[in-house]
Every structure is written in structure tokens, then in C-alpha cells.
Symmetry: none
Amino acid sequence: MLKEERFRVILSQLGQDQKVHLAELSYVLKVSEDTVRRDIKELADQGLLKSVRGGAVPHSPGPHNFKDRVEYGSEQKQIIAGKALSFLKDGQVAIFDGGTSAMLIAQALPKDIHLTVVTNSFPIASILEEHEKVEVLFAGGRLLKNSFVTIGNETIQYFRKFRADICFSGICSIHTDFGVTGPDYEESEVKRAMVESSREIIALSTMEKLGTAEAYYVCPTNQLTTIITDQPDNLDAFEIYKSMGIKMV
Amino acid sequence: MLKEERFRVILSQLGQDQKVHLAELSYVLKVSEDTVRRDIKELADQGLLKSVRGGAVPHSPGPHNFKDRVEYGSEQKQIIAGKALSFLKDGQVAIFDGGTSAMLIAQALPKDIHLTVVTNSFPIASILEEHEKVEVLFAGGRLLKNSFVTIGNETIQYFRKFRADICFSGICSIHTDFGVTGPDYEESEVKRAMVESSREIIALSTMEKLGTAEAYYVCPTNQLTTIITDQPDNLDAFEIYKSMGIKMV
DNA sequence: ATCAATATTGCAAAATATTGCAATTAATAT
DNA sequence: ATATTAATTGCAATATTTTGCAATATTGAT
């Protein structure tokens, strides 16, 4: 079998599956894993795919295909994203935080809405780059490896310059006494800056995060305007937050 | 069997199968593999197929094959990238601008070097995100569609906060009288901020950009420390810039 | 820290290419 | 026709590339 044939198989398989494993290919192509590895390396050098540990993944032209990174967001998060969209109005200035929930909103965003989006998330900025009518303002700062968001004082200062209409803040723990809290110090600091720079705060949370608390404080619960959850039919929590003037959706 | 006849068979077989093997053809055509090889070479010279080890595959159609583009651009710029790397020392703070040249440097960067990189380019930040020992500081600002870099006042202010060791600035026009100039107002402004925030300035340019000028001013020529070109053997230019105290590589 | 999975490297064997050369065939001029 | 030249072909000797293996290093997850 020609090397070129193997290339074709690898690329075609990759087109279907978004991933290929060395062992699989080695079996299918009837060559050693070493050879597959070398093939993958060669294809990677040509920019046709990206070599990763144990196999390869597609590599589309742009800077990075963050869209692939969005693991088929859980069904619940899709629901949340759908609901969130109804809060966005044409012409608004919106802050998007770096979580996967906010990313799903960005992905679900219709192409024809006119917005100014402020974010510290590479994936979100990349997604919105394709939206003609969306102006993207990106918060600088130290790039956090693996999650592709910027953090640190610079990032915070950037957000503080805004008075946005609306802010989508991803999964945090929400507790009536302890307020909104997060598991990471620096990210929580950034989140606070976002929240304090916006008029309306839409918290995106799953039901199980309600009533729990983490180590780092973000803001008081009553600062939230709305809480969007996957199942707003949990009446206990529903009533509690509603009585605080928070809209539950 | 006539040579032309063999050609016809080879091409026809290739049309059906997307591939041909030397051994097969040798058997079918009843000539030695050497002859088949020579046939293939001749057909390849005419651009009718692509000769590969062990046989041939159809010639990839279209002048703008993605793969070709990658390799093509690389050719000269790869040389520049290689040279640029020798200027980077462990532990330095480096500014990378948003051009493709700087991107190639990032791509060619060894994984084990310890650096702090300041950039306004998504692609570069993405590439370096995979480098364990590289801290990426990203300049915020307005995201420029299509080129994935941030620009504007925020971006400029961000760079002004640094005093970097070295700055890699992509292809600009360089003229002894008019200085360094660029084709876009905002990008040139950002470039100036980068240049003024760095001790050492490495300009990455192709030979044809030397001695030309564009509309927007970046900095005086003598502010450059080094000019890296693809062919530093153009002695005329070489001497001129060298006499200004600029290192030509 | 530890372990298993994966990657890298060097190396030798196998596959494939290249080259020079001689034999054959086709082409052309006389 | 025939001699001369040029092109084609197969073969053998010599490079070059590819491949799988084994030893070693690296990585990722726990």
C-alpha cells in the first residue's frame, strides 16, 4: 500500500470521526504504529491535521478550532443556552465569561444580531469572529493554559472600564448566605470584575450548583438579576431566590 | 506496446483507482518496473499525475490546494523563522506581532525554552499555549476580523506597560529616509507601541520590501537592531543598513 | 510519587530509486 | 536499402527511503 493511500485513509477517517487512534489505524492499514505515527507527523507538518498523544485530530486553518473543543455540550447546557438568548437585545453591550455555558450561547447566537461583546475567552472570541455584526472586545491578560481564557489584574482592569448591559456568567455555586462563589481564586476575581461592570447579571447554573458554596467569593447573591437553570421546576429553590427579586428561568 | 499506449493505460487506471503501483503496472504492461517508473516520471513532468514512492497518484487539482499554500508560504519565511530563533535566549521577554512571519517563529519555537511572550495575535497565543514553559501575556483590544489580532488604543496601552528584551516585527516596508512604514493605520500604531516597548527590534522582511515605503509611519529605521531577510546577499542594501548600525541576517 | 501508555531515538533489514551502461529498436538521411 | 544517430529498454550496482523493532525517555493520570 502506498504511503499516499494511507494518508488518504487517515484524513478521510479523520473527516468522519474528528479523531483517529494509532492502534486502530495500525490495524486498518496493516503497518506498525510507528509508521502510523510517522505518517501522522508528516501530515501534521503539512498542516492537514494535528498530532496528539495516541492519535490525531483535525486541524482546520484558523488559529485553532475551538469549536471542536466544545465537547458536544451536555443537553442541559444547550437548554440553558437557548433560554439565555432571549435576554439579548439588538445593540447591547454584553460580557461573556469564559465557561462552556457562555460558549454555547455564543454558538447559538443568530448571525444577524448586532452586539458588542466583551470577553476574556479565546473560544468565544473565535466563534464570534464569524459574526459580521458583532464587535468583539477582548480583555488582555495572562493566558491560562488549557482553558484559553485570560486572567489576572490586567484582565480585571479591562472589564472595569465597561458598564455593560448584560453579563453571562457561567456555572458558579450560588448560596443564599455565602453568595456566589467559585473554585478558583483568580477566575473568581475576574468574574467579580465582570459582574460589577454590568447592569444585568444572568447566572448560568445547573440545579445541583444551587445552594452550594466554593472557596472563593464572587458577589452577593442578590446582585444577580436572573438565574438560568436546566430545570426551573425545583420549587423550593425557585421560591427562595424569587423572593430575593431574582428571576428564575 | 507503444509508450503512448502505456501512458493511456496508466492514466486510465489512475482515473479509476486514485492510485497505481509500479509492480502492478509492470505486470500489466509487460515492461520492467524501471520503464514504468520512467513513464510515470514523464507523465509527472507533464503534470498529469503525481509520482510517489512505489507508484503514482492523481495530481491534486486546482492551483490553490491548501497543502501547497502551507508549504509554499513556508519556503522563504521558514528561512526567516529559523534565523530569528537564534536571537531568542532563555528567560527573555519577547513581543511577537501579529504577522505570519512571527507566527512561523512561534511554530518553530522549541518546546523547552522558557519565555514570556507578549502578543496581540490569537494564532500565536494559541500556538504558544502548548508550550509548557512559555508564559503568554495577551494584549486586549478590539478584535480585528479575519486577521485575528487585537488593535486599538487598549492594545497600544497594553504594550506600553512593558520593557521587553526583544521584539519580532513582521513584514513592513523599510526605507532609509522614510523609516519603517506599514499599509494600515491602526496596525502601524500598534506596531509602533510594540517597537517602543522593546530593547532589541528584529524586523522580519523579505528583500523586496527593503527600500520601499507605505503610508503609515511606524518608527525610524535606525531604531531597528536587526533586519532578517530571506536573502541577505543583496550587497547594496546590505551595506547601507549595516552602515546605520543595523545587523543584517 | 508511581505506573501504564505513549513517544522518541537509533538501528538494521527491506523496499524502492537512481545511475551508468549495453543491447535493442525506431528514425532519419543518404 | 543501409548506415548513422537518437531514443528506448532492461539490467546491475549503488544510493536513498521506508519500515519495524527494541531500548529509552516522556507524559498523563491517579
